[in-house]
């Protein structure tokens, strides 16, 4: 394994409640991620996986713990624009993550204008490039998000993340709002992009079936704690924690019905 690119140490998130005791959403989560690697985080709803993702992306401040990006502490401090650029986020709901009043080209131009000094022409060519990277036809840049399907919107969401030219992309259940066939297309697209551009992914999912095809390593979370972690293969072959075993059993198995032909 190459040297860690992103390192998370004892990350903790506590939500204060008025009536009851404070709610600990994430308890001392630690892991590391190297360049070009995909780390899958699995767990049921409320296991704290999205909170971990949002803390890494800087959307939610961590209560305690450290996050290092290339040995620079980025948790609890005001992040520099370059660090924000380096960690991008893909949302679960592709439709609501795109501003309905902005054309696709304006959505994609936003990170380009924000992070890079580019001329109008350069932005235009970059947008065309991004659209072809995610497999959308060029003329889609004139459309509004509501004119696109869910899968196409998610491709735009991916293109927006690509536009920043990040080193880490946090994918928060990017396929769970999509049809089965579209899901596999999006997963294939993400894998292909990783090969050509060398991103590291943190891939959040609620079930193991999505994780299996894309992750190198898996972190299984339950009630804010990491219950098991390891290589994808060993997790699938020798799950130790009963919760992990339950998750593996929960993967729907396809049984092709047997039709008797006379």
């Amino acid at each position: 394994m190459s040297q860690p690119f992103l390192e998370v140490k004892n990350l903790r998130k506590v939500y204060k409640t008025k009536s009851k005791a404070d709610f600990v959403a994430v308890k001392d989560v630690s892991f590391s991620l190297s360049k070009g690697e995909t780390l899958g985080i699995v767990g049921e709803s409320g296991s704290g996986k999205t909170t971990v993702a949002k803390m890494i992306a800087g959307m939610t401040p961590a209560t305690s713990g450290e996050i290092y990006l290339k040995e620079e502490q980025i948790s609890g401090v005001k992040r520099k624009q370059d660090i924000k650029r380096n960690i991008q986020y893909i949302f679960q709901d592709p439709v609501s993550s795109l501003n309905p009043r902005m054309k696709i080209k304006d959505i994609l131009a936003e990170p380009l204008k924000l992070y890079f000094k580019l001329s109008k022409v350069e932005i235009d060519t970059k947008i065309d490039e991004l659209l072809s990277d995610v497999g959308l036809p060029n003329h889609y840049k004139q459309y509004y998000p509501k004119e696109l399907s869910g899968g196409q919107c998610q491709r735009v969401g991916i293109a927006r993340a690509l536009a920043a030219n990040p080193s880490i992309i946090v994918c928060d259940e990017p396929t769970s709002a999509l049809d089965m066939t579209i899901q596999s297309q999006i997963l294939d697209l993400l894998k292909e992009l990783q090969q050509t551009k060398g991103f590291s992914y943190i891939f959040i999912a609620h079930g193991l079936e999505v994780i299996y095809s894309i992750s190198n390593r898996v972190l299984v979370m339950r009630q804010g704690e990491v219950v098991e972690s390891g290589d994808t293969e060993s997790i699938f072959k020798h799950p130790e924690n009963p919760y992990t075993q339950a998750l593996i059993h929960a993967i729907p198995k396809i049984e092709v019905p047997f039709f008797e032909i006379n």
Partner: protein, 278 residues
């Protein structure tokens, strides 16, 4: 994009826009349309009823004359110019200020929000008519002051409505995405929040418009409006009220016109709201 414009679904819009267009053109270009000089007094033609002949000169007074022999129709057109202009200006000011306050307090929340909303609460607890009367008494009458007074009574509604929408908008993922990207707060508000509240603001503006016309008319009726000799709809009703038993047209006609314009604007805002829901 290529939605076909159907007459059936948009009759409210077609009727109200046509009527409003007509009203605005006729009043804005009042000098072209008004048959006589609205300030010209004539002792021979005092209180002649609608559709009667002038005795001082040839010509028919369509809507009669007032106690000074001035042509009511001409005064109505000039008065409409003043009344509509006042309400449009005050809706614009109230809308801009109110929406800005609404967006800022909804977006930032916390202390700014609490301060602004308590301020709005305080103002809402005072009847707007009373507030307007007090403010005119302090500031003095005159066109600019009336516009200021009307704007001050109007911003609260805008701020409240916009704020409540911003509260739900700022939780949406595209706003979160922009913030995480490092887009500045100002740009988030301008690019992601404002465009999504525009429809609400416009609908609210149309509703407020009719309220402003009424308030402006009430102020002129109370003699707190612009200069007495300048025709305004409310002022005309006020002038005519002493003659209501002998010359019904003096107060009735401007009253009907105010009601008609307000109904038309309400129809228009109703249509806008229907559109927003689609």
């Amino acid at each position: 994009m290529n939605k076909r414009f159907s007459i059936q679904g948009n009759w409210k819009g077609i009727i109200s826009i046509t009527l409003l267009g007509f009203i605005f053109i006729v009043t804005i270009f009042a000098p072209f349309f008004s048959p006589f000089d609205p300030y010209k007094q004539s002792l021979q033609d005092i209180l002649i009823p609608p559709l009667s002949q002038f005795s001082s000169h040839s010509g028919i007074s369509l809507l009669g004359t007032d106690q000074l022999g001035r042509d009511v129709l001409s005064r109505l057109l000039y008065g409409g110019r003043m009344s509509l202009w006042m309400s449009v200006m005050s809706v614009v000011f109230a809308g801009v200020v109110g929406s800005c306050i609404g967006i800022i307090s909804g977006y930032y929340g916390g202390k700014i929000d609490a301060l602004m909303m308590r301020l709005a609460d305080i103002q809402m607890s005072i009847p707007s008519m009373l507030l307007a009367i007090v403010m005119v008494a302090v500031l003095g009458s005159g066109l600019v002051n009336i516009v200021i007074v009307l704007s001050i009574t109007g911003w609260v509604t805008f701020a409240r409505v916009v704020r409540s929408q911003v509260l739900s908008l700022k939780e949406l993922e595209y706003v979160e995405a922009a913030k995480a990207m490092g887009v500045s707060n100002f740009a988030v508000m301008r690019r992601h929040i404002l465009p999504n509240t525009v429809f609400t603001i416009v609908t609210q503006a149309a509703l407020q418009m009719s309220r402003m016309i009424l308030l402006a008319a009430s102020l002129s009726f109370l003699g707190l409006g612009v200069d007495v000799s300048t025709p305004t709809w409310g002022g005309m009703i006020n002038d005519g009220k002493n003659y209501i038993s002998s010359a019904w047209w003096l107060s009735t006609i401007p009253g009907i016109i105010i009601a008609f314009v307000i109904l038309t604007i309400n129809l228009f805002s109703d249509w806008l709201r229907d559109k927003a829901e689609v």
